[in-house]
Symmetry: C2
Subunit: 228 residues, 2 copies
DNA sequence: ACTGATGTTTGACTTAAGTCAAGGCGCAAC
DNA sequence: GTTGCGCCTTGACTTAAGTCAAACATCAGT
């Protein structure tokens, strides 16, 4: 598949004309990262942003004691590093490949140049950033206003809703990563999964979770219920 | 002062030509809110965004038990509600005037229309959203990876750095609001201020705080030090 | 298939920070 | 001035969640 085609297939760039896609294609660079490899670290100079073609990437920060807060886990077609393109000079968080990941890299200055000529692209980027803002706001809300069982319930329901068919949510990240995403640690996550399991809200297996009581989880997520 | 003048004086719109300012002025509406009045509530339809002309506005969410997490406290010339303009249909948080506040309101659709004709305005908005994203990311970091003394130290240093001259930081929000901003409650804030005071990091008075040991606060903010 | 590295669970313990309740301070209105 | 109402502080208590340590399961790479 040639570059213009590839770019046209990315939702962020939906609505662009073939010619616009071609001008983006002219500045994009393919880059592949192996499992565990870092795209950039927090504080690095923001030289451009990436769009994932295949693979999985986590965006995170580490505390001085080594605890990790994951901001997002991103998959195919999702962009990252874009906040550094338009403001400030450094990346606000680190990005690391969780599995082998192919990506397109868009250098900052060239991309800004293209965008100032393409209002529809600018609007797409505005929509993207607004969406990110919304997600982060909800993470702040969860961290500050909910306890871990509430966050976990909200997360499971989120997975459940974006699930193809069954009530079985398959976990495609490790429970360690999941703990990082929920702003807690593996031990706490493990204990709370067990309590939810005991209360027959869910059935936990190694790589998946069966939702048994959706309403119960929803109550937990809203803070209208507590675990024993 | 006429509308075009007013708009030209807002940093977000810096760099726009007088004609561009005039087209923004044509769609802007002046609105004044009294102390305690709400601009919008979380979940309301996102019909447009505001820029503060004078006054002070808090952006926040409430938990089901009534605890408040403040996202930002905004002052003159700062915009808010902009994330709802470009994505999604509702405001992700609530906005309330802390004092009598004059503002300009930009209706969503008209603003999007103007922006798609003005690339430089689009770039300003992208920069704004990126900056907000950065601030929220750092709030997530603080909430998840730091304890309250660390958050408070970071906040005091922030005030200190944006301070005109002296080592005396004057508090222009109540300590209750400050607790909400730090993701904690007034009692906890009070206790920690006292501990910092006892350790001679700061000198607390009613409406202001004197910074005595900047380095100590910095260490606390970095997690390299603990309060007794 | 082996094996070392990662990921997961469990138990005992510690602790930061929240809750509840009472009292003091300070400003604004009468 | 004094009354009254938010704001702020303090103390005693509770609790969610983190730490430390040990054992076990699972996975990826040789």
């Amino acid at each position: 598949m040639d570059m213009t085609q590839t770019i046209a297939s990315i939702p962020l760039f939906a609505g662009l004309t073939p010619m616009q896609c071609a001008s983006l294609g002219a500045i994009a660079v393919c880059r592949t990262f192996s499992r565990g490899q870092s795209f950039f670290y927090e504080g690095d100079e923001g030289i451009g942003f990436y769009v994932i073609l295949s693979g999985k990437v986590k965006i995170f920060k580490l505390s001085s004691e080594g605890k990790e807060q994951i901001f997002h886990i991103l998959e195919e077609h999702e962009p990252f590093g874009e906040a550094a393109v338009f403001a400030g000079e450094h990346y606000p968080a680190s990005a690391q490949a969780l599995v082998e990941t192919r990506s397109l890299f868009f250098p900052r200055l060239k991309f800004v140049e293209v965008i100032s000529r393409e209002p529809s692209l600018a609007l797409s980027m505005l929509a993207l950033l607004s969406l990110r803002l919304r997600k982060l706001a909800s993470l702040v809300e969860d961290l500050s206003l909910k306890e871990v069982p509430g966050r976990l319930a909200a997360y499971l329901l989120y997975l459940y809703e974006h699930n193809d068919d069954s009530a079985t949510v398959k976990l495609d990240i490790s429970k360690n990563q999941m703990a990082g995403l929920l702003g807690t640690i593996p031990e706490t996550l493990s204990r709370i999964l067990k309590r939810m399991n005991d209360e027959k809200l869910i059935k936990v297996t190694t790589r998946s979770i069966l939702i048994l009581n959706e309403q119960g989880l929803a109550d937990l997520a809203r803070g209208a219920r507590r675990l024993a």
